[in-house]
């Protein structure tokens, strides 16, 4: 699979939309904890869904650095490029 930033973003946004019970506008600047209300465990569970779809494992210290959806896109892009 070609893991361009755009495709990774699509997967992340789509997964987050199906997770949230009500429609919310998502951008790279959306803060996962403050804007979407996910706690630390919910963030890790969310990343697990993405990991399955992109067939990759993201180390926990990298997840801990993520604050916005844009951070997550970048982290996954980096992990996939170095895989």
């Amino acid at each position: 699979m070609d893991n361009s930033v755009g495709e990774i973003r699509d997967v992340i946004f789509e997964t987050m939309r199906s997770l949230l019970r009500h429609p919310v506008e998502l951008t790279d600047q959306t803060n996962i904890a403050n804007d979407l209300g996910l706690d630390s465990v919910a963030v890790m569970d969310f990343v697990m869904e993405i990991e399955d779809k992109l067939n990759v494992s993201v180390p926990l210290d990298r997840i801990a650095e993520v604050q916005t959806l844009g951070d997550l896109v970048e982290t996954l892009h980096n992990v996939l490029s170095n895989a």
Binding site: A33, G37, D39, S40, V41, A42, M44, D45, M48, N55, V56, S57, P59, L60, D61, A83
Partner: protein, 410 residues
């Protein structure tokens, strides 16, 4: 911005709990009458949330041994074993644990939390990989953060997901270390350990099992899930605690690993904290002796666990996946759990509230744990209160399902 503003979400949740007049996170047991009863808010209360699995906290011999050691060796050790020396009791407890597990080495820690913190942070070095079950206890995640290894989380109780993640790491250098638990503290479910052991062998990884809630609960000899699943030879390190089935405080690790003793001078949560006090060590030694000599306690405990599980299931509550001494009712949201908990407490029954992020899948739980010291009548009494208040709060149907009352009773 104030220093503690970063906790604003948590503070809101705490305030909500506080508003419930009695806060589930700051209960005071004014007086403890036995392993199953206490005085709370001036009322005699049935305890159904203590993790006191074998009910040994008031055993006369455990108390006598503990008191005798306090008389002989004093109240505290006032230092760490590395800097200030080991006591005879530390060594005897380690020998006793090693012998119980049939392993060459045992190491005692000041708490179970520190045992996980110490072992996990130390055995995984900079280029190694820890693979943690998604539902592992906070002490395991904290140990992983304290150490320098890379941490990967795999789906709860999924040997397939673990295998998939080990496959992704196959060409990456470094040792792979898997951590799972015997019985998970929140929902009372057990790991499919035989399958995990097979994955471990396939990928040449190491395996650590935390038997905190399964020591004295599972296995013919009470050694835990590894014994019950028949895979003790595949488990490289067993970690556990004295604070549940043994009624003390402290933690341990047993292993056959070559060169194990170097951990005593490499493991910071072992070296830089005071060693467990003599009275506690002596009480734990006696409790361990009783765990081994009185298998009837294990039978009683598991009977009570099944009784509570079957009773609550019959009433129509949504529960964890399998019966065990930990039985959790799954509720729709935190406020429901707090309110249910409060009403049960007012009626004379003490349970625990467990809320996200401490729970798996953001569940709000009303958690109970049974003891070998509970009588069948006490569990029936608790079930009566669950039925009455559960119906009043519309968590379960008004009419009991046919036959529920006889479900697991003798």
């Amino acid at each position: 911005m104030a220093l503690l503003d970063k906790f604003s979400l948590m503070a809101a949740q705490y305030a909500e709990a506080e508003a419930a007049a009695t806060n589930p996170f700051s209960v005071v047991l004014d007086q403890v009458l036995s392993p199953t009863e206490a005085v709370i808010n001036g009322h005699r209360t049935l305890l159904l949330g203590t993790n006191n699995y074998l009910g040994l906290t008031y055993d006369p011999d455990v108390i006598a041994k503990s008191a005798e050691a306090v008389q002989k060796f004093g109240t505290g050790t006032t230092g760490s074993r590395i800097a200030n020396g080991s006591y005879d009791g530390h060594q005897r407890l380690e020998q006793s644990l090693a012998e119980f597990y049939g392993r060459r080495h045992a190491m005692v820690f000041s708490t179970g939390y520190q045992a996980n913190l110490g072992i996990i942070s130390t055995v995984a070095g900079k280029n190694d990989h820890l693979l943690l079950d998604a539902d592992c206890h906070a002490s395991i995640y904290d140990g992983a953060r304290l150490g320098q290894g890379q941490v990967t989380r795999f789906r709860h109780n999924s040997p397939e997901d673990l295998s998939q993640r080990l496959r992704r790491l196959a060409d990456v250098p470094g040792d792979k270390i898997i951590v799972v638990e015997g019985i998970y503290s929140m929902l009372g479910d057990s790991a499919p350990l035989r399958e995990f052991a097979a994955v471990k062998r396939e990928w040449g990884a190491y395996l650590i099992v935390d038997e905190a809630h399964s020591l004295g609960v599972l296995g013919d000899a009470g050694r835990g899930l590894a014994e019950a699943a028949g895979v003790e030879a595949d488990v490289d390190f067993i970690v556990g605690t004295f604070s549940k089935s043994l009624g003390g405080v402290g933690g341990y690790c047993v292993s056959d690993m070559e060169g194990f003793d170097v951990l005593r001078v490499a493991c910071r949560p072992y070296m830089f904290t005071a060693s467990p006090p003599p009275g506690n060590v002596a009480g734990t030694l006696e409790a361990l002796r009783q765990l081994r000599a009185r298998p009837v306690l294990r039978r009683q405990l598991n009977d009570r666990g099944r009784q509570l599980y079957a009773g609550l299931e019959g009433l129509g509550f949504s529960l964890g996946p399998e019966p065990s001494p930990v039985v959790s009712v799954i509720l729709p949201e935190p406020q429901a759990a707090i309110e249910f908990w409060k009403r049960l407490l007012d009626a004379g029954l003490y349970t625990n509230v467990s809320l996200p992020p401490a729970t798996p899948k953001s569940l709000s739980l009303l958690r109970s744990s049974v003891s070998a010291a509970h009588t069948a009548a006490q569990i029936d009494y608790a079930l009566g209160l669950f039925a009455e208040i559960g119906r009043a709060m519309d968590f379960i149907p008004a009419e009991p399902k046919a036959g529920r009352r006889t479900a697991a009773h003798r």
